[in-house]
């Protein structure tokens, strides 16, 4: 699952940097790429075991990316998933939704951004909401991830028409009109990657 996310970012990092260049400083793709490389390393060096532990190591690795806002925000996302994870080796559907909720909560500690501010939140909030609804509706892991990924994609899409109110790009609000927020696109790529990863794992 985690590696699926890394794969998606790797394929799209150029576009992410380009999106960051409309008002931002054009480095979001590079930074996400480095974050995902750190994630891959931490996955590779983890000796199987607990999901909770793996996620916490991953979070620390992502935070260590030295990537401006990206490290703390995405690191917090994984840290929250770890916080929300139980002690089990494999997660179930309800646990997954809770993990995402805990992730969102952890990110909220780092930023006051709300939906509509043209940030990662525009993708993350609906994705987590839809994951919860899907779990409540009795969907399986892949089903949950499918609905979450679709919600994240639509959320990222919706940022095209928004003007940023936070982050570096806020000072060049008009320049980013018509372009998606790079951070939101990253979130949607991560959920898409989770889904792909889960499908390959066989769910």
């Amino acid at each position: 699952m985690l590696l699926g996310a890394a794969g998606q970012i790797r394929e799209n990092h150029r576009r992410l940097s380009e999106l960051d260049s409309f008002g931002g400083d054009g480095d979001h793709g590079t930074t996400m790429l480095r974050a995902m490389e750190n994630l891959e390393k931490s996955v590779a060096s983890s000796r199987g075991g607990q999901m909770k532990q793996l996620l916490s190591e991953t979070a620390w690795a992502v935070m260590g990316t030295d990537g401006g806002a990206t490290g703390p925000l995405f690191g917090s996302f994984f840290m929250g998933m770890s916080n929300g994870a139980g002690q089990e080796e494999r997660m179930d559907c309800v646990a997954l939704a809770s993990m995402f909720e805990a992730a969102l909560e952890c990110v909220r500690k780092r930023t006051k951004a709300e939906a509509g501010d043209k940030t990662i939140m525009d993708a993350m909030i609906p994705a987590v909401e839809q994951a919860r609804l899907a779990a409540d509706d009795g969907f399986g892991i892949c089903g949950i991830l499918e609905r979450a990924a679709e919600a994240a994609r639509r959320g990222a899409d919706s940022t095209k028409d928004l003007q940023p109110r936070l982050g570096r790009a806020k000072n060049a609000a008009e320049q980013s009109l018509g372009h998606e927020d790079p951070g939101a696109v990253s979130v949607s790529l991560i959920f898409k990657g989770f889904l792909k990863g889960a499908l390959e794992d066989g769910g």
């Binding site: 480095d27 930074t31 480095r34 990316t65 990537g67 690191g75 570096r168 060049a172």
Partner: protein, 332 residues
Amino acid sequence: MAMKKFLNDPDNLVDELLSGFALAHADKVKLTESNLVVRAKAKARDKVALVTLGGSGHEPALSGYVGEGMLDISVPGEIFAAPGPPKLIEALRMAERPAGVLLIVLNHDGDVMSANMAMEMAQQEGLNVKQILTHEDISTGPRDKPEQRRGLVGCLAVIKVAGAAAEQGASLDECLEIADRMERNMATLAVAVTSATHPCTGEAISEIPQADMIIGMGQHGESGSAQSKLKTADETAEIMLDMLVEDLSIKKGDDVLLMINGVGSTTLMEQYVVLNSCKKILDSRKINMVRCAAGEFLTVQEMGGFQMFMARMDDELIKLWDAACKCPCMAI
């Protein structure tokens, strides 16, 4: 235009630049294994330590100010990107001492998030750390909304006066008070005329029309608000001074420190010319430019333009500004 920089693998850029930096200033600083910049000769442990963090690509900031009379540790991040919380907490642990640690943070989302997370961890660990946030870019928010104001070259003044106080044996609360006084009495405004390229992506980080200048351009090429035709040094100085004086409510007879910070390819020659313009204008308004400086203190790659910094000074701040310091890129 294609990027014309002397670089090797962009993935190693920060490592290489830090290692070159440490070579050039081996008498004053050294690098730790995890690329923290520390003093070659540590400060006595009964004095407050100063730590800061910030993205790379802004040389000589901030690591150039590690040394006697200024910083104890600088935590450099990637190009234009703050270091993550892990590195920062490592630095705070290393700096930890009975006298306490002052963490100086420039107001940019990434820096603040890293600092906040590291501060939370530090508190959990019982470290004696206090934090000061610099936010003095008057183009991004009004004075009563400091959280909207970016941290620009003003961090240098805060580091200078707080560093001098620490060196003289001031307590953590006293250092914080000094830093805070400097911070509340300072304002910066930037103007840009040509763009910089991001050394890793090779892309221009902003677009500035041929004949224009942009007042309010940020430290990473984030655009500012007021765009106009390029003006003379006198005219530009007057516009910028007006805004700074108004923001700080500077009155006739006030004492100010004025600093022109070249951000990259604007020459020192021009900086001196602008400084001279400022002096004429301030004189005509009976505002005392008691101290001034010009130079590349915090750059944005090869961007053309400068940051104009102004601060209302009192006698204690002036004394601390004048105090001796011996850093790689600042020596008084």
